[in-house]
Symmetry: C2
Subunit: 514 residues, 2 copies
């Protein structure tokens, strides 16, 4: 926190401070997960070495395309690559060498410094669903997302104890022009939440707007010296880097802001149908993209992404929570650690059209693999439905609840004298019970994770209360949370400056549809 932001915070009035204090009590946010458990590793050293050697072969012999981007081609030439047309052939070892200047870990700052996150190492930061053009809830069904939905999801994220990050495009506000909606989205993240967030990547000019809005929120110097956004830069797999995404990356990296460089792969379509082949391509793409970020600015924070899932060869639909997706995620985590890069993958992935049992099996499989594969930044950690086409209100709170279980599991097993509980075992003895013993009385409050959504009541009580399924329970929780929402305090001058920037920008250009 630099002096400007410190001063700004101290200037907030008494009413705002009291509101902030109330907020801090009601809307507690857990610290990001610091794993005290090992990672699960599915590949042995021999497999890893083969994949790494093959990835270098791809970069050198096949090459990658940087499309419509002469400046990028020149940067690659200057770095020693062999550029033919738009095809960049990267000599063995060069990309890996360039990746060495990426920080293994970095802080993303939030406007509330208590909500800063450390991305990398043994940490796991959880962010909500990103990108759906539709929303779904039990009452209204499936429909195009609007800015009101967007604001609702930001509010739900702000109120979710187990979400550390406000995310980015939690849904596409289709009622706002394509060239202006990024302004409203950023404004919502900045004002309705105090958690860290993501910037726009749909055009380099929108990335610049994102930086400018952060300069208002955090101060201009602060933004140049610190990372305040972590934005999602997808690679057009196979091996294609388009000018829009790379343009956004250039803006962010040159301003010291973080990018997730993420191959976007449905296996069998954008990569080979085999796990090893897909991992090889993922690694080659990540090496090229991350290396390119370091050609823009050495030391710019970058995350290795891997959005990879399987395909149903009957229907062509992407499938989620599958064993192949798990193999790839575990393997990608190993490759990221060997590169020393923070790793992004996994999420509340499912293909189901409803937040039903299919959705939950698929999601639980994905969340478990994310935790155990060493993911550092989990985008889509809650709310994803129907292959990412839909942001689901009910699933958002169901998934966000499950994220609490990840926190508890990641804390590992205590083995101190209290945890050994030998006194309790002596006190109770054969045939006794532990419900009333001293050790239970002292420890029961924190002993067991408890869902805030699920029903643990006896059958008869549950039946009397209407035999509600998880969707109905979650729907009630959505209503409760949105009803209780209170906006976090913000200096009125700052709020005015942000609103002014958005209004001016929106007035300066006509609406565009694409």
């Amino acid at each position: 926190m630099n002096e400007t932001t410190a001063r700004r915070r101290s200037r907030t009035g008494g009413g705002a401070a009291r509101r902030a204090q109330r907020s801090a009590v009601s809307f507690e946010t857990a610290k990001y997960i610091e794993r005290n458990i090992p990672n699960f590793e599915v590949l042995n050293d021999e497999a890893l070495e083969i994949i790494e050697a093959n990835a270098e072969t791809i970069l050198e012999e096949i090459g990658v395309n940087f499309v419509n981007n002469p400046a990028a081609l020149q940067r690659w030439r200057d770095a020693g690559a062999d550029v033919r047309g738009e095809r960049v052939h990267i000599p063995r070892g060069l990309a890996r060498e360039l990746c060495k200047t990426v920080p293994a870990k970095f802080t993303q700052h939030a406007r509330n410094p208590e909500r800063n996150v450390e991305i990398g190492g043994k940490n796991l930061v959880l962010a909500p669903v990103y990108g759906p053009p539709f929303v779904h809830d039990v009452k209204g069904g499936r429909r195009y997302a609007t800015m009101e939905d967007f604001r609702n999801f930001v509010k739900l994220g702000y109120m979710s104890k187990w979400l550390h990050h406000s995310g980015g495009t939690v849904c596409e506000p289709t009622d706002v022009a394509v060239n202006k909606r990024h302004l409203d989205m950023l404004h919502a993240h900045m004002t309705l939440s105090d958690k860290p967030f993501m910037g726009s990547v749909t055009d380099p000019s929108r990335a610049r707007d994102s930086v400018e809005m952060c300069e208002i929120l955090f101060g201009k110097d602060f933004v140049q010296d610190n990372t305040v956004m972590t934005s999602l830069v997808n690679i057009n797999s196979p091996m294609t880097f388009d000018d829009v995404m790379m343009g956004a990356l250039e803006v962010y990296a040159s301003n010291n802001q973080a990018c997730i460089v993420s191959p976007f792969i449905v296996g069998g379509a954008m990569a080979p149908v085999s796990v090893a082949g897909t991992l090889t391509q993922v690694l080659a793409e990540v090496l090229a993209g991350v290396a390119y970020s370091q050609l823009i600015r050495k030391g710019a924070p970058v995350i290795m992404g891997a959005f990879v899932t399987s395909i149903d060869m009957n229907s062509g639909a992407p499938t989620f929570g599958t064993p192949e997706a798990s193999h790839i995620t575990y393997g990608a985590g190993q490759l990221a650690r060997r590169l020393g890069l923070p790793f992004r993958s996994s999420g509340s992935f499912c293909g189901s059209k409803l937040p039903d049992a299919q959705a939950a099996y698929e999601t639980a499989n994905s969340l478990n693999m994310g935790l155990l594969s060493g993911v550092n930044f989990m985008l889509h950690a809650c709310g994803w439905l129907e292959g990412g086409l839909v942001a689901s209100y009910e699933k958002f709170v169901m998934d966000a609840d499950q994220l609490g279980a990840l926190h508890k599991f990641a804390a590992g097993v205590a083995i101190d004298v209290n945890a050994q509980a030998m006194d309790a075992i002596r006190e109770v003895g054969p045939g006794g019970h532990y419900l009333g013993c001293t050790h239970t009385q002292s420890n029961f409050k924190s002993a067991f994770w408890r869902s805030d959504v699920f029903d643990y009541k006896p059958f008869e009580t549950w039946a009397e209360e209407g035999s509600r399924d998880t969707m109905a329970l979650a729907s009630a929780r959505v209503d409760k949370l949105l009803g209780e929402y209170q906006q976090p305090a913000m200096d009125p001058a700052l709020a005015e400056a942000l609103a002014g920037y958005v209004a001016d920008k929106k007035a300066s250009v006509p609406d565009a549809m694409g």
Copy 2:
């Protein structure tokens, strides 16, 4: 297979053989899982050593109770234990020493030798839900289970590709007298399926009946030389071994039949609220119970069980799929491997009253931990609902479908030249797609696991077909499977002998209610 059974099989008539052949095509059963992946280990060596030392302290200083069982107390005295009343104090190291004669791995034979299972090592054998007094389906709701339900679940288990084992009390047939239902249950497993099964443990005499029925099915000599049942012997935690369960264990062990010696623990009630304390008690109980089996017959096959879950301290209800249950299961797997014992844990555990999202999150968490914790025998692998009070038709087929994903994940990652797919990556190149390439054409059929229950169709098609949730899809699958069921062939003389035994036994005593 001894000569008698070989001859019996060769005697089956042409019609039966043809039926068997048809069955083999329609009702394929996968081989038990042979893991080609590492286990996940949550405890370090120091923690394991503390737990092991504390477990020995429990056995020596606190002791365990063998209730109403003077013969057991005498066996313990003869083995060197200090017996005071019904309390057995086992000197440090004695129980562990006695456990050394347990086979690390054993074969459980099925009447169809292709369906024999190897329990232990890196293997995982999957068996269905055990014990519920109720059943549930979407059409009929929740009701007491009957023998017709029991037969239906045996049929569903027989037809499930990913279930290796027919299980035991798949539900409690409450319409048959308590002292006779074991006969009908065993008869159903023996005749409606050809997979391996479990014997009765509710009374030593019923265990003897189970052995006698197996002597008819497999031949008397075969049963003495081979294991044909794996039965569930629960310990009354904390540290109490009752005469009914131990009586059943005595029958099975003395006949060379396998027992799962399984503490049954809801954490905070039957064990301390801490993970380390619970693991300590589990280990002490297993050491005492498994050691006792070896006092009955050295070398009798035994499985270390751990049915451990957490509790909701608000309602007192057991909770499932929780992080604490995972910690305990991973830790128990480590302790079992250090003892060299096959390990039983995990299952399709859930507390939900419906096969909805809650049920699926909880179950997926449980199945994942079972796979990665090195479980060798997974009871309740499908069909469990409402904390085990209910066997659910729909959840049976949903879970059984997920078990297919465990098979695929456990196979690990291929790294041969075909899997590396470098030819495909060269053929497709930057910007291309893999759907039609040679490698995809050669490999797509086996590349990706595919659910037989979930919906992968586009939204519009799904909506036209009635917007069915997973329960509705599973209900249709239940009907389909039961409609297509065909009984596996059996020598008519053998069928007659089994039916005769059951009829005679049932006629020999009046019905009892408990």
